[in-house]
Symmetry: C2
Subunit: 224 residues, 2 copies
Amino acid sequence: MTPREQPQRVRVQNFTVSRDGIGAGEHQSLERPFGTVSTGPLDPSKLMAWSFETANFPGRTDGGGTRGLEDRLTRDFSQNIGAEIMGRNKFGPVRGPWPDEEWTGWWGEDPPFHTPVVVMTHHPRPSFSLSDTTFHFVDGTPREALEQAFAAADGKDVRIGGGVSTVRQFLEADLIDELHVAVAPLEYGSGLRLWDAPEDLTDRFHLEKVLAPSGVTHCFLWRR
Amino acid sequence: MTPREQPQRVRVQNFTVSRDGIGAGEHQSLERPFGTVSTGPLDPSKLMAWSFETANFPGRTDGGGTRGLEDRLTRDFSQNIGAEIMGRNKFGPVRGPWPDEEWTGWWGEDPPFHTPVVVMTHHPRPSFSLSDTTFHFVDGTPREALEQAFAAADGKDVRIGGGVSTVRQFLEADLIDELHVAVAPLEYGSGLRLWDAPEDLTDRFHLEKVLAPSGVTHCFLWRR
């Protein structure tokens, strides 16, 4: 379809939390990228199982996978997205000043973004590219990071990629237009919490909840 | 996202039927493009309300519309589609030999396909283009039409666009890889029937059913 000219939007896509609102554990490390929750290390393959099992999950090469609702949501991840903003902890486990520039993200030589990525950090470093993803480092407010991402997005939308505290910062600054959050049928008890319940946001957002056969409740929120 | 090299697939997308399986009425005419069912002329704005009300419905210019599940499905309509195949009755109400070439479809100067479209008819006529849609006319079997559509699709998938009897022909020829069919909360009593129930197809297809808040049940079927 010919893209229609529309204002650039700020979107959260396929962000997944437990039933008690937890999207990551505490004490992230190189060995435990998703940190630790009350039951032990958070296993992303359980939290994200709804997406990992679909035919369009990036990196799947076996020709298998499901092709139901959740496959549509998986392939929607990049639809009309021109840039991503992420927090430093989504980018990596290093804290404080960078000892060197060896760390280039968790994703190897072909990161799954394929657009410019703006990493928010108090310790900027030079931009670099891996395959068709370019990482930029910005020390600034959410609004400043967003301006940079809009400029890099070639007229397309900007995805707020997480983690939890980055999404919360953008919600607090009232900079998000729409969210798709998958609520997985798990309870973590402790960790980094996005919300107590999606209804926390209904003063500012419409909320639609759809239960998938996987047991995941997909929450779609868009600005009133 | 960089398109991955995958075999071309044959897909039915956003095809909508009533709870009793009816996708169009009988006695189609210029005035009644969707024909007549037991309750009177079929009103597509009721049958397709789930999609018409979304933000991404083609032609919407008011900036409004919903942005829930059904908006994702609406914008998925063209995702990785390189060509459509339609039956002659989806193309227009003229029957038999073309009196002239004046009829160019129901859609005005900017049809919502934006790809090559293969129209199956026993009365071929020269190809023509409107905006970025080109219509070709083929007198042949479903397999022959599909070969032409695959060749025109530039490596992308082919959508079987309908109507009902065209989808049925392709199902009978076992040429469809996946279907998304929306079952609207309406009963028509008479008309052109896609199926008695989606379970008719579960010998050959996986079936996932998802109930949307609109009252529509979205059926996703993909080959076993």
